[in-house]
C-alpha cells in the first residue's frame, strides 16, 4: 500500500507517466464492442474532451499534485496514453475543445486556454477568464459546459438546494414560492464564447426550472441543446405519509430535455413521475403525488430514466465507427445513485438512446455496464469506478472518465 502510494506519487510529478492498466474490472458491452483502459489513477476525473488530433483533456474535481487539468497523448500509438501533463490551478468539472481553444470550468468560473496546432496549451499559467461569479454553495456546484456552432457557450448552474424549501432537506419546512434560487441558479445560462469577464448581467438566462444538470451536449444534427437533469431527492424522508421507501427510490424520473430559449422544466414546483408519465406537483407545493396543477404547462422530458441514477455526462455520437443505429444517438454516463437507500443502488453505467431526426426513436438501453466492479452496489462507496465523463475521440471511439479512481476507458467497435 505504502510502496504503491510512493510509486504512484513520484511518477506522477514527472511529465511522462506509465499506466499500469492493471484494473481487471470487466465492462460488459453489446456484441462487437470492446473496452480497454487507456490511463489510470488520474484523480477525480470528471468531464473529458477530445481534440481532432486524438489528444484528450480531462478536468479533475480536485487538484492532484497541484494540477486541475490533464492533457493526455498516446505518442507511440499503442493504445495507452502515456504522455500526461498537468496545468490549471482550479478544480471543477466542465471541459471542451472548440475553435483553437480549450474551455474549462471551476465551480464558479469558466476559463479558456489557447491551443497550438498540436493541441498543446499555450500560456498554461494565463488562461482567459470568460465567465465569473456563478453561484457556488457546496451543493450541485459543478458547472458543466458545452458550445454551439455559433460562438455561444452554455453553462449549467445547479440549484444549491433539493426542493427550494425554506430550510433545505428539512422535514416540515415549506417550499418557497416563488423560489428565489431560480434567479441565479437552477437553470442554463448562455454567454459569448470569446468575450472576457462576463457575469450574469452579460449572459442570457437561457432555461429555468432545472434542479441540477451535469450532463449536457449541443446536438449538431439539429442545432439544439439537450440536457440531463438530476431529479429531486428524499420524498420518503420528507413526506413519509405520502411516499414509502420504494416509491422514494423510484421517484422522480431522471429527465432528458431538449431545451429552447425560455424553457421551464418545472423544478422545484414539479417533478416527473415516469409511471404516470406526467409532471406532478411537488409535496412542498401542496402536491399529493397525483395532482398536476401548474405542472401541466411545464416542459416535458424527451426521455425519462429511472430515479436517482445521476446522469453526469451526455454525448451525441456523430462518428461512423459504430454501427449505423448509433449515429446521432445519445450516450449518457450515469454516475450511480445514493438516494435509493435503503434499497440497493442503481446506475454506474453508460446508457444509449437511439435518435432519428433529432428525436429519440426507441427506448433507452444499457450500453456499457460493470464499472462498479461488484455484483450489487448497496452503498455508493462499494463502487470501484463511477462513469462521469464521456467524449467521442478523433478515432470514432468513445471515452469514459471515472471520478473514483481516475480510470479512462476506450470503447471501440470491431465488427
Amino acid at each position: 500500500m505504502l510502496v504503491r502510494f510512493l510509486l504512484a506519487s513520484s511518477l506522477w510529478f514527472g511529465i511522462v507517466y506509465t499506466t499500469r492498466a492493471s484494473d481487471t474490472t470487466k465492462i460488459q458491452t453489446p456484441a462487437g464492442f470492446s473496452t480497454s483502459i487507456i490511463a489510470d489513477d488520474l484523480g477525480n476525473a470528471r468531464h473529458i474532451a477530445a481534440a481532432p488530433n486524438g489528444v484528450l483533456f480531462i478536468k479533475l474535481e480536485r487538484l492532484k499534485n497541484g494540477k486541475g487539468i490533464l492533457r493526455l497523448e498516446d505518442n507511440n500509438k499503442d493504445g495507452i496514453y502515456e504522455t500526461i501533463t498537468g496545468f490549471g490551478n482550479f478544480g471543477g468539472t466542465g471541459i471542451a475543445v472548440k475553435n483553437g481553444y480549450l474551455y474549462a470550468s471551476s465551480n464558479s468560473e469558466v476559463y479558456r486556454y489557447r491551443l497550438n496546432d498540436k493541441f498543446e496549451v499555450l500560456d498554461a499559467d494565463k488562461p482567459e477568464l470568460i465567465v465569473t461569479g456563478l453561484v457556488n454553495k457546496n451543493q450541485h456546484e459543478s458547472k458543466s459546459i458545452t458550445l454551439d456552432n455559433a460562438g455561444n457557450l452554455y453553462i449549467n448552474v445547479g440549484a444549491p438546494s433539493n426542493a427550494c424549501q425554506v430550510a433545505d432537506r428539512t422535514k416540515g419546512s415549506p417550499g418557497q414560492d416563488p423560489c428565489p434560487i431560480l434567479e441565479t441558479a437552477g437553470g442554463i445560462w448562455r454567454f459569448r464564447a470569446n468575450k472576457l469577464n462576463q457575469s450574469y448581467s452579460e449572459g442570457t438566462h437561457y432555461a429555468t426550472g432545472l434542479r441540477n444538470v451535469v450532463g449536457l451536449d449541443w446536438n449538431s444534427a439539429i442545432n439544439e441543446l439537450f440536457v440531463m437533469q438530476h431529479g429531486r431527492d428524499q420524498l420518503a424522508q420528507l413526506y413519509p405519509d405520502l411516499y414509502n421507501d420504494k416509491q422514494s427510490a423510484e421517484l422522480p424520473a431522471e429527465e432528458m430535455f431538449m431545451i429552447k430559449e425560455g424553457s421551464n422544466c418545472g423544478w422545484p414546483y414539479c417533478y416527473y413521475d415516469g409511471q404516470q408519465k406526467k409532471k406532478v406537483l411537488a409535496p412542498e407545493y401542496g402536491g399529493d403525488g397525483k395532482k398536476e396543477d401548474r405542472c401541466a404547462n411545464m416542459q416535458k422530458p424527451v426521455v425519462a430514466f429511472p430515479a436517482h441514477m445521476a446522469p453526469n455526462a451526455l454525448l451525441f455520437y456523430t462518428g461512423d465507427k459504430f454501427p449505423a443505429r448509433y449515429k446521432n444517438g445519445a450516450f449518457i454516463a450515469f454516475h450511480g445513485s445514493w438516494n435509493r437507500a435503503p434499497l440497493k443502488q442503481e446506475g454506474y453505467l453508460v446508457a444509449f438512446v437511439p435518435f432519428s431526426n433529432g428525436q429519440p426513436s426507441g427506448e433507452w438501453e444499457i450500453f456499457a455496464n460493470g464499472f462498479a466492479g461488484v455484483a450489487e452496489v448497496k452503498s455508493p462507496r462499494d463502487a470501484k469506478h463511477r462513469p462521469c465523463g464521456l467524449t467521442q475521440g478523433a478515432d470514432g471511439a468513445i471515452y469514459v472518465a471515472d471520478d473514483v479512481k481516475g480510470t479512462i476507458y476506450r470503447i471501440t467497435y470491431n465488427n
Binding site: 451543493q139 433545505d168 428539512t170
Partner: protein, 152 residues
C-alpha cells in the same frame, strides 16, 4: 486554499501513520477496548437505530459509509467519537463547511435536525457512537437539552 496546501504536505506522513497506527494499537492494547466499561442506557441503541433509519440513513447510508465527496462516513469518524458538545451541535445547527473525514473531503451541507427531540438526538448519537466500528460514551438527553438552550 492554505488548508488544502498543508493537507497535501502532511498527506504522506498521515498515510504512514494510518498504516502503522493500527499495528501499534493492536500490539499495545490488544483487541476490544470498552469505553469505561459502562453499559449503554437501556433501549437507547434500539431507539437510536430507528431514528437513524428514518432520518440519517439516506445520506450516511445503512453501513455508515456515506457518499464519496458528498456526505461523510460515520465509520471511525473523530467527529462521531469526539467531543459530545460539538457532535450535538452538528445535529442542532447543521454543518456547512468543507470537512475532512479519514483523509477525504466532503462538501455538501448537512441540514439541522432540530425537529428531533432531545431524547431522539441522544439515542441516535449513542447509536452512531457505538456502531460502525465506533466505541464511545453514550449521549444523554440532558446534554442535548443543555446545548439546545444555548441556541436561543
Amino acid at each position: 486554499m492554505l488548508r488544502l496546501f498543508t493537507a497535501r504536505i502532511i498527506w504522506p506522513l498521515l498515510l504512514i501513520l494510518v498504516v502503522l497506527l493500527p499495528m501499534g494499537i493492536n500490539a499495545v492494547a490488544g483487541k476490544k477496548v470498552s469505553v469505561n466499561g459502562q453499559p449503554l442506557p437501556k433501549g437507547s441503541m434500539e431507539r437510536g437505530k430507528k431514528v437513524f433509519e428514518a432520518t440519517c440513513l439516506t445520506c450516511h447510508q445503512a453501513d455508515g459509509s456515506g457518499v464519496p465527496r458528498l456526505n461523510p462516513p460515520l465509520i471511525k469518524s473523530d467527529y462521531v467519537t469526539g467531543d459530545p458538545v460539538y457532535l450535538i451541535n452538528i445535529l442542532l445547527k447543521g454543518l456547512n463547511d468543507e470537512i475532512e473525514v479519514n483523509g477525504e473531503y466532503y462538501g455538501n451541507p448537512m441540514p439541522a435536525q432540530v425537529q428531533l427531540s432531545d431524547q431522539e438526538i441522544a439515542d441516535v448519537l449513542t447509536y452512531v457512537r457505538n456502531n460502525f466500528e465506533n466505541k464511545a460514551k453514550a449521549i444523554t438527553p440532558a446534554q442535548v437539552t443543555a446545548e439546545r438552550k444555548k441556541l436561543k
